[in-house]
């Protein structure tokens, strides 16, 4: 595993000259389109003529069929930058933009109830410690229908979700969730860190195992990550499976207004992947040391 600057420089060298011109072209197309759209809207408001409508339709048609740089750039961004970024991080990892994590796998982590499930941008492979990892963007939604029969869709979760197979079985389930009011859940465990209690809730049927897993350094690691990234990692460890998710919103998406190789964005992905792996390793060490 290389450090972030090494990875960034490598991906930069290999992709900057190819992608930047396409991004700029796509960005310019978008800017021109916005200007034309404003102009046409004004034209229509002022004239209210059928000619204005025809011009709008023709412009839309031209944009749809000829201005393809945006789509091309977005596809190339994933294929070139993210694929290379993942490969540079670890030779054993692969990135598949159109594949995701199956719904059934996400359900095993028992995060929430939802009606719709979407997943894409799969990172999969085996890590140095020999454990298999699957990580992908996941979005879940619920639907609610009011008395008039109108259906509204709400996003429940949108971010990164990972499943890691451990080489040890803890024969129990420990869940770490962001802090929320939990009055009647009998599985809630009081942790011995006031700061951790304020940010996270821990649930398990086996208090001892939860305490053995959540040592003070792991609790501090979770708190530090939350503080630095403003994202609360949520975890489920059940038997030999480790699930973690980060509510980051959409990931691995190209942004036309930002440089193809946006340092901060890639650093954020790097930190999340690194944190997931470091945390898994720490949990595994605890599991091995305590002979769970």
């Amino acid at each position: 595993m290389k450090n972030f600057n090494e990875i960034y420089e490598r991906v930069y060298r290999e992709t900057e000259n190819i992608l930047e011109p396409i991004r700029k072209k796509a960005r310019n197309e978008n800017i021109y389109m916005i200007i034309i759209a404003i102009f046409l809207a004004l034209l229509f408001i002022m004239t209210r003529s059928i000619i204005a409508v025809i011009i709008i339709l023709i412009s839309g048609f031209i944009y749809h069929f000829f201005a393809k740089s945006g789509k091309k750039y977005k596809t190339m961004f994933k294929e070139d930058i993210i694929k290379k970024f993942v490969k540079s991080y670890s030779e054993n990892l692969e990135f598949y933009p159109t594949r995701g994590i199956p719904k059934a796998t996400y359900n095993l982590a028992r995060f929430e109830y939802y009606d719709r499930y979407y997943s894409e941008d799969l990172i999969t492979g085996t890590l140095e410690g020999g454990y298999a990892i699957n990580m992908a963007e996941v979005k879940t939604e619920t639907e609610s229908t009011d008395s008039d029969g109108d259906t509204t869709t709400y996003t429940v979760f949108h971010g990164l979700f990972a499943e890691i197979e451990l080489n040890k079985n803890i024969n129990s389930c420990v869940k770490i969730r962001k802090n929320s009011i939990s009055l009647f859940n009998k599985e809630k465990i009081e942790m011995d860190s006031g700061e951790f209690e304020k940010k996270f809730n821990v649930y398990s049927t086996d208090k001892i195992i939860a305490m053995q897993l959540l040592t003070s350094d792991i609790m501090q690691m979770l708190l530090d990550f939350k503080k630095e990234n403003k994202v609360v990692p949520e975890i489920t460890i059940e038997d030999n499976k480790f699930y973690i998710r980060f509510e980051t919103g959409g990931v691995f998406e190209a942004k036309l207004m930002k440089k193809a190789l946006d340092y901060d964005m890639l650093k954020k992905y790097y930190d999340i992947i690194n944190f997931t792996l470091d945390l898994t390793e720490k949990f595994l060490n605890n599991i091995n040391e305590t002979e769970l």
């Binding site: 009081e190 006031g194 001892i208 305590t290």
Partner: protein, 174 residues
């Protein structure tokens, strides 16, 4: 008059709920303490095996074996957790002393015992943390307003934590 009755009923309900909550929190401490006792007992049940395994090598440590045997007997009668912790540290001391003997360290019987004792030590550590977390919740209720008024009224006293310093004083790393 009606309002007065409602206020009295609300007050009584508050007293009742707070009192029950304090009792529940205190019971959780007792439960956590019994958790520590379970792991201490499991660990102390292995003492005869440990002594049997190492006494041939630690011939100059006869005193500590006698002391440990006596303390173990007392613990099973009194179930005093503080004494239990002292005895636990003595067990750790025996293991640490044993590590000076390479032949003993290579013995399968000793390694098996050491592994079991390590596992129990980790469980014991977790049980102590659970205890401290429960004490913390209870003490917060006893000290903070308005539940502290009920605590004073019904004589709920603050509980002591398992002090890390006390443990560390005699602690010998396994």
């Amino acid at each position: 008059m009606g309002i007065l009755i409602i206020i009295v009923i609300l007050l009584l309900a508050y007293v009742l709920l707070t009192y029950n909550s304090l009792i529940r929190k205190r019971n959780k401490i007792k439960q956590a303490a019994s958790g520590i006792d379970v792991y201490l007992t499991q660990r102390f049940e292995l003492i005869p095996n440990l002594v049997e395994c190492v006494k041939g090598y630690l011939k100059h440590e006869k005193e500590i074996f006698e002391e440990v045997a006596k303390m173990r007997e007392n613990y099973f009668i009194n179930k005093n957790l503080k004494e239990g912790e002292i005895l636990n540290n003595k067990c750790n001391k025996i293991i640490a002393l044993s590590e000076n003997y390479p032949e003993l360290k290579a013995s399968e019987q000793f390694l098996g015992l050491q592994k079991k004792l390590s596992k129990m030590e980790s469980q014991l550590q977790a049980a102590r943390r659970i205890y401290n977390a429960e004490v913390n919740t209870y003490n917060n209720a006893v000290q903070t307003f308005p539940s502290n008024l009920m605590a004073k009224l019904f004589n709920f006293k603050e509980e002591d934590y398992f002090q890390a310093e006390e443990q560390a004083k005699n602690n010998v790393t396994l």
